[in-house]
Symmetry: C2
Subunit: 277 residues, 2 copies
């Protein structure tokens, strides 16, 4: 049983090595770096595991010792790009306070950061679309990349001037919703075949004001019931799937909070007082 799972290794052995052997970590990094370089040079499909191993000066079996499979090498890309994006977006947003503008900048920043990888993004995407894969952006909450992205969107909101006036329940959900919006943009981007993904850029420019408008309008009385419904639905059906909230599998089970309340049998803890008809 090799110690592939470092978090487990770090948590289990109390008397064990506090920092995992730097030697092995070095090999791991070497393989990952080599893989990423070759991916960028030749594309994902054209880069064989044998080539990666050879280029890194290790055996092919060794690569599999550190990475469960070829697709796991992609994670490095994903993580790196997400970090770059967060940094770049923060920098570009600095000083701006208009929500629509900030959102637009954040999304455009993503398109820019992702641009170098667009060519083999398809392969990438294909792997991420597999629910069984650990790479799926929806699967494991632990995915650090998602946390980074959600955090960025929280900052997009916090830095803008529509602060306390909007529905607190919606406000709580918004960072995740904006991340979801980013996922839609990603989907659009992956399928975008125009030069420099101009189409996606235009899409983003149109989306941002629209989203801002929705958020702004959500304050008004007329929209409240609709917003309520949407918020409830997202809380019950979307967030749990992403791994948010303690209730991670409430579908057939009972409600996690409010034992025998009005929504017994309902998927999530809806709202305490929901005037349902």
């Amino acid at each position: 049983m090799p110690a592939k799972d470092e978090s487990a290794a770090a948590a289990s052995g109390a008397a064990g090595p506090r920092t995992k052997a730097p030697k092995s970590e070095q090999t791991r990094a070497l393989i990952l770096e080599t893989a990423m370089r070759l991916f960028q040079e030749r594309g994902y499909d054209k880069t064989t595991m044998r080539a990666i191993a050879a280029e890194a000066g290790v055996s092919v079996g060794n690569a599999y010792y550190y990475f469960e499979g070829k697709e796991f090498l992609i994670q490095g890309f994903y993580d790196r790009m997400t970090r770059e994006h967060a940094l770049d977006a923060r920098e570009r947003m600095a000083g701006r306070t208009d929500f629509s503008e900030r959102l637009s900048i954040a999304l455009e920043s993503w398109v820019d950061c992702a641009a170098p990888y667009h060519e083999f993004a398809a392969q990438f995407f294909r792997t991420a679309a597999d629910p069984n894969s650990a790479l799926s952006p929806f699967s494991n909450e632990s995915h650090p990349a998602r946390a980074t992205a959600v955090q960025l969107f929280r900052e997009v909101l916090d830095g803008s001037d529509l602060g306390p006036k909007i529905d607190p329940e919606l406000d709580e959900l918004l960072p995740d919703l904006l991340w979801l919006h980013l996922m839609v943009v990603v989907l659009y981007w992956v399928f975008d075949r125009t030069d420099d993904t101009e189409r996606t850029r235009a899409f983003v420019q149109r989306c941002a004001p629209f989203v801002a408008k929705i958020v702004t309008l959500s304050r008004y009385r007329v929209f409240r019931p609709l917003v309520r419904d949407a918020v409830d639905m997202i809380r019950d059906f979307v967030l749990p799937t992403i791994g948010k909230t303690a209730a991670s599998r409430p579908a057939t089970a009972r409600t996690p909070s409010a034992p025998a309340g009005p929504d017994a049998g309902k998927p999530g803890k809806t709202t305490r007082r929901l005037r349902r008809g």
Copy 2:
């Protein structure tokens, strides 16, 4: 150059065989049927091309003569399921006139029809998620399965009693939008790990009234600007990607907020008074 593309073969040779050789079509069908049977029995990954060929009593090369690759065998499944769904949904909707109910039935019918394939839907989905693949539901408009599904949703609308009162522009888009909604349900379903995909079923039950509410509310004055924006955006950015509308590359144009004329530089015929029956 073998005649893999039967539509071309049928259209080109004026003096050629009006019906393509039934012999070869028989082999093709045999391979497809065998593949579908094995996929259902063992799952997609576990079913090897060698096994399909052996079970069908042909050589492996022969399978590749009729199908460009393994993934192309999936298309058979996709098409069949879509047809089944359309039939089943129509039957179940018969007599109902409430839009929300009809939509709910149509979606639930899909979940039921897709249930037998849920196990290997992941692999399926993974393939469909590849923009390069001919299987992608977004790629080629010609995809007959999508046409069937969109047509079904048109019937969902036509059979319901909210007919002429809703915004005609929205009405025109709705079938495609509902299909898009189905795609979201599919996404949800693929990732759903609950027993009998109970969670997806609950999701659908909640979505349908919500969608109906939106459609209903879209009539009121307050919502008009929002609906307008949404309709425009969808027409400009979503439908062209699906292959709808002649204007398929409007992205790089100018700012959308009407500088010169009402629709100057707009890709589609955006705002126009359509009085549809």
